[in-house]
Symmetry: C2
Subunit: 150 residues, 2 copies
Amino acid sequence: MHHRHSYWKDKLKGSGCRLTLPRRVIFEVLNSTTKHLSAEDIYFMIHKKYPGIGLTTVYRTLDMMVRMGLVDKFDFGDGHSRYELLEAQDKQHHHHLICTKCGKVVDYTDFIKEEIALVKQTEEGLSKKYNFKINSHVTQFYGLCDKCKK
Amino acid sequence: MHHRHSYWKDKLKGSGCRLTLPRRVIFEVLNSTTKHLSAEDIYFMIHKKYPGIGLTTVYRTLDMMVRMGLVDKFDFGDGHSRYELLEAQDKQHHHHLICTKCGKVVDYTDFIKEEIALVKQTEEGLSKKYNFKINSHVTQFYGLCDKCKK
DNA sequence: AATATTAATGAAAATGATTTTCAATAGCAA
DNA sequence: TTGCTATTGAAAATCATTTTCATTAATATT
Ligand SMILES: [Mn+2]
Ligand SMILES: [Mn+2]
Ligand SMILES: [Zn+2]
Ligand SMILES: [Zn+2]
């Protein structure tokens, strides 16, 4: 985790960017949660302690982190983009299970091995057949969670 | 295809809805394309012949068709929701391959058999483990198409 | 066919997430 | 410190989509 810290900071500096307070704070929020936060979520989470940091900056910072490949941006269909630190903590590549009623999101890695194998194979086939250079994929399951089922 | 026409019309009427000109026109557009159109796309496609049909109605009609389970709504990440008639023509369940540069979308069904099998199996496992009732899934590959690669 | 009922429509206004603008600020290299 | 300029915050702008509301038209009834 410590090497990751320096890693992203170095990466910032390496591309002529500055290490600012908002950037450090926003990174820390993402690094210490398991949730899938929206820009507004983050804004409110830090606003008490850092009232000087504006929502605009949250958006800009998240956007930058996405471009740096540090953060993943998701759309779960509720009108708010959500962000998640890549390779954070013990996190690995995973897919999502989303409750369409309450918005609950589950990261699952259970069947990821088989999925990854199939995905890799599919990617290869598709790349060849359609001449695409595939960079990423998204798999999401939508449904109703435990509580919302009844 | 003829039975499909009557099918959706019957479904409409069955739920107390009226069969109006905008609805017929919008259905026809979706039924005669292989593309993934946005509300605005549809609006402009019909505007010359039917200048009386407003964008609001296009949105409303698409929304209704989605609720009826007649149309699928997708977000390919370009800021416009896109719509596709379900089970239209020779179309089957399929996944998408999206060029992040030019927006080209490919429907592919090549590896769908294996995918479907895995998806079904994954759904079962996830349903059990997380107590979700899974209703749908989305799988999309992002990359660069033939032309945009270079 | 004429009429009554009310779902559906279109224009305009509102919404709300995200982006842009721009003058002020703060990293950081020298 | 100083100077350069990337970054910031506030306010305004953008833009896809939704809401409002008076009008219209689909359909059931006469
Ligand atoms: Mn996740
Ligand atoms: Mn498709
Ligand atoms: Zn739920
Ligand atoms: Zn392309």
